[in-house]
Symmetry: C2
Subunit: 180 residues, 2 copies
C-alpha cells in the first residue's frame, strides 16, 4: 500500500467482517462506527480503488434488482495488512469537542448561554445513548460465543459508559451554573 491512512484499515476492517459495496461501507460508518469514527464518500470510493489496485481487496461488478453494484471482498493479503496494523500500537485517540470549547470560554457570555449548550448537548447524548443501548441489548441477545461479536459489544459498551458519564456531568454542571 502506497500510503498509510486510517481509511485504508477501516475499510479493510469492515470488509474483513463481510463483503460489501462502497455504499454499504458508508452506511456502516454512519451506524456501527459513528460513535468513534467517520468518513465520507469522497474518501471511501477512491480508497476502494487504490486498495483494489494494491490487491488487498477484489472487485466484483454485478447487478442486483436491476441496480449496478460493485461488491468488494478482502483478499489474503488484505487480511495480513489489516492484522499488521491491528498489532501496531495505537498512535492517537482524539477528541474535538466544540461543546467543551464553548464552555471553556463561556465566562465571556454568562451562565445562561452555557446552560443552553449543556442542555442541548445533554439531549443529543441522550438520543445517542438510546441508540447505543439498543445495539448493546441486541448484541447481548444474540449471545454468540463468537469473538467478533464480543468485540462489537465491547466497543458499544464503551459508548454507553461514556455517554452515561456525560449525562451525569451535564446534570452536575447545570446545577452548579444555576447556583452561581
Amino acid at each position: 500500500m502506497a500510503n498509510d491512512r486510517h481509511i485504508n484499515y477501516v475499510i479493510l476492517g469492515l470488509l474483513s467482517h463481510e463483503s460489501m459495496t462502497g455504499y454499504e461501507i458508508k452506511k456502516r460508518m454512519d451506524t456501527s462506527l459513528r460513535f468513534f469514527w467517520g468518513a465520507s464518500y469522497g474518501s471511501i470510493y477512491p480508497t476502494l480503488n487504490t486498495l483494489a489496485q494494491s490487491g488487498l481487496i477484489t472487485k466484483y461488478e454485478t447487478k442486483e434488482n436491476g441496480r449496478d453494484k460493485i461488491i468488494y471482498t478482502i483478499t489474503e493479503d488484505g487480511h495480513e495488512v489489516l492484522k499488521g496494523w491491528l498489532r501496531e500500537p495505537v498512535v492517537k485517540d482524539e477528541l474535538r469537542y466544540e461543546t467543551l470549547l464553548k464552555l471553556f470560554f463561556g465566562g465571556e457570555l454568562g451562565c445562561d448561554g452555557s446552560l443552553e449548550h449543556i442542555r442541548s448537548y445533554g439531549s443529543k447524548v441522550q438520543d445517542e445513548l438510546a441508540l447505543l443501548r439498543s445495539i448493546v441489548s441486541s448484541l447481548e441477545q444474540v449471545k454468540a460465543n463468537d469473538i467478533t461479536h464480543l468485540h462489537y459489544l465491547l466497543t458499544a459498551r464503551f459508548g454507553v459508559k461514556m455517554y452515561e458519564a456525560c449525562l451525569e456531568w451535564c446534570a452536575e454542571a447545570a446545577d452548579e451554573l444555576k447556583k452561581s
Copy 2:
C-alpha cells in the same frame, strides 16, 4: 473575518482570558485545552496575523529578558465576534478513537492483541486523569467566585468524569476478554 475556522475562536477565547504571545497560546493548547482541542504552530501563527489584520486583536511588539515577543490583545470587535460564536449552537462534537477502531476489528487478531490495546489505553488514561485531577483540585482551592474560573472547573471535571468511566470500562472489558 474572512473565514470561519475554529482556530479563530479558540485564539480569541484564550486572548479573552489574557493577553499573550503565540508561543504561550500553543502552551495553553497543550495544557488547558489538550483534553478536547489541539492546534500546531502552523495554524496558530498565520491565524494571529489574519486576526490582527481584521482588527479583532492587536499586536504589541516588545522585548522581555532580551527576547523578542509579540503580545496579542483582544479588541472590542474581537470580544463581539467571540460572543457571537459562543451564542451559536454547537455544530459538531467529534471523537476519533483509534483504540476503539482497533478493538472493533480486534476479532481478526485474537484476544491478546485487544487486551494489550486496552492495557496501554488504560495506562494512558490514568496519566491524563492524574493530570486533570491536579488541575481540578488546584482550581477548587482557588475558590474564586469568578464565573470564568467556574467554567474552567466544569470542563476539567468533564474530563475527570470521562476518564473515570474509561477506566471502569477498561477493567470490565479486559475481564470479559480474559473469560472468553
